[in-house]
């Protein structure tokens, strides 16, 4: 199986073989996924919420790092495509007995896996797996280290398109711990590829990557300035281990300056939507009145995530 060495998710025809990162994907492929997902939303509203596309295929959820929402929505997506789903939480299994990642994957391939959905704390782990699986096996990155979380980025784009229709006139703000966020990276690449003209990142200097402006984004350290007249507010999760670490004085301090409250959200356009990839820290990066408010699309994001993952799996497996 020949895959583009510079971008090993594409085959010789430029079609998607693995989904590893949004970076390097042409706009046509992103639109194809978003369009296909729209059709799957219809499927999930019917009496029988299942289609037969992946009948007889085995999808292995390979989670080397804990996750509830992502793993569950991948599982639901695969089941709605009629695949058999096998969930493996590797940290409590063979890894503790000393087996390497590639040995684990080789053994699961011998169990006739057709697709691996991989979550790993190390950036690049899904690439390593993708390089070593057989030609008929597809790999989906479900989040690797600080690097990428492509299906999250795609479902965010789906949500934005659903509520705002068009990317070409949008002003979007990404708020919080951009430095450690694989979600932020995927969002920035997706928004740029889909033609969003103005992307802002808002956060304290210690939680923004140095030279982040090289990605084509505008940098703000003040919430009210950064949120002024935006159409979309994408909140990021502040990971627990950062709350008391050297990069931040405290969670309370973070909330005071960067927590999304109704008062700060008022700087955005009145019809601005608020996204969050979950799980939320209420009272740290977002106030409950906003999270549960009229502008929040946080729960629809979860539902859209199922359709996006169905779209990705069905595009990959049908080759």
């Amino acid at each position: 199986m020949w895959l583009d060495p510079a971008n090993p998710q594409l085959d010789k025809n430029g079609e998607l073989h693995h989904l590893l990162s949004i970076e390097g994907l042409p706009a046509e492929i992103l639109w194809q996924i978003l369009d296909t997902a729209r059709s799957f939303v219809g499927v999930t509203q019917r009496e029988v919420r299942k289609v037969p596309l992946l009948r007889g295929k085995a999808v292995f959820n390979l989670f080397f790092e804990p996750s509830t929402r992502t793993r569950t929505t991948f599982e639901i997506a695969a089941k709605r495509l009629s695949a058999d789903v096998i969930n493996l939480a590797i940290n409590i299994s063979s890894q503790t007995k000393g087996e390497t990642v590639l040995d684990t994957v080789a053994n699961l391939s011998a169990m006739q896996a057709d697709m691996f959905v991989v979550r790993h704390a190390a950036s690049g782990a899904p690439y390593l797996i993708a390089r070593h699986v057989g030609a008929d096996i597809h790999v989906i990155n479900a989040g690797d280290g600080r690097h990428s979380h492509p299906t999250q980025g795609l479902l965010d784009m789906f949500a934005i398109r659903h509520y705002k229709k068009d990317f070409s006139a949008l002003r979007v703000a990404i708020v919080g711990d951009v430095l450690h966020s694989r979600v932020a990276r995927s969002q920035i690449h997706a928004l740029t590829t889909l033609g969003c003209p103005e992307i802002r990142v808002i956060g304290p200097k210690t939680l923004l990557p140095s030279h982040v402006e090289n990605l084509g984004v505008h940098v703000y350290h003040d919430m009210r300035q950064g949120l002024k007249d935006v159409d979309v507010v994408m909140m990021l999760r502040l990971q627990n281990e950062r709350m008391e670490g050297p990069l931040l004085p405290s969670a309370q301090e973070f909330y005071k300056y960067y927590g999304l409250t109704e008062d700060k959200l008022a700087a955005a356009k009145p019809d601005a939507i608020v996204l969050h990839p979950g799980p939320m820290n209420r009272g740290v990066e977002i106030d409950s009145s906003v999270a549960d408010g009229a502008q929040s699309v946080i729960l629809p994001q979860v539902t859209f995530g199922i359709a996006i993952r169905m779209a990705v799996m069905s595009i990959l497996a049908g080759k």
Binding site: D35, S39, R46, V48, K50, G318
Partner: protein, 169 residues
């Protein structure tokens, strides 16, 4: 791409409407198959004065060649804006050929519920069936060779035309 004209699609549509009028009641559900079938279904729906809104199906998620050629690039959304349970349905397509699209459409319909009946209307029947499927309403029977395809096109003003293509080898 070179193509030669076939029977006039507008005349076939009128003939199809006349065939359907006596037996298609106002509560029948009309469902067009993307893309040409949807155009025809919308026109039939208007001409027959049906009460129930017109539905549309994209059968991409039910095709039997998915394993071979993958998911269709441009999947449209299926939309059945009525309850199919216990209803008489008429599937509408532009060209009936192998019957595989209709098989896929029926499988999809049953995931919406259990219809009382399903009939099939097609503008053109070009023969070449690979499954035991027949249309109850047919605009015209047209001869075409295996290497040819018949396509329905629609102008900006909504006028329908049939075009014959030689498939690329």
């Amino acid at each position: 791409m070179p193509g030669k004209p076939l029977p006039d699609a507008e005349q076939l549509l009128a003939a199809l409407t006349d065939q359907m009028r006596p037996t298609v009641g106002p509560d029948s559900g009309l469902i067009g198959i993307h893309t040409g079938g949807v155009w025809i279904a919308q026109r039939l729906h208007q001409a027959l004065g049906l009460k129930v809104p017109c539905g549309s199906l994209d059968v991409s998620f039910y095709r039997d060649d998915y394993q071979k050629i993958g998911l269709h690039r441009d999947v449209k959304t299926s939309d059945i804006p009525f309850d199919v349970d216990g209803r008489d349905l008429i599937l509408v397509d532009d060209v009936l050929y192998t019957g595989r699209t209709i098989r896929a459409a029926m499988n999809e319909l049953f995931d919406y519920g259990r219809p009382a009946s399903i009939r099939l209307a097609t503008l053109v029947d070009r023969g070449g069936r690979e499954l035991p499927i027949a249309a109850q309403f047919v605009g015209a029977v047209v001869d075409a060779l295996p290497g040819q395809s018949i396509e329905l096109t629609r102008t900006g003003e909504g006028r329908l035309t049939l075009v014959l293509h030689e498939d690329q080898p």
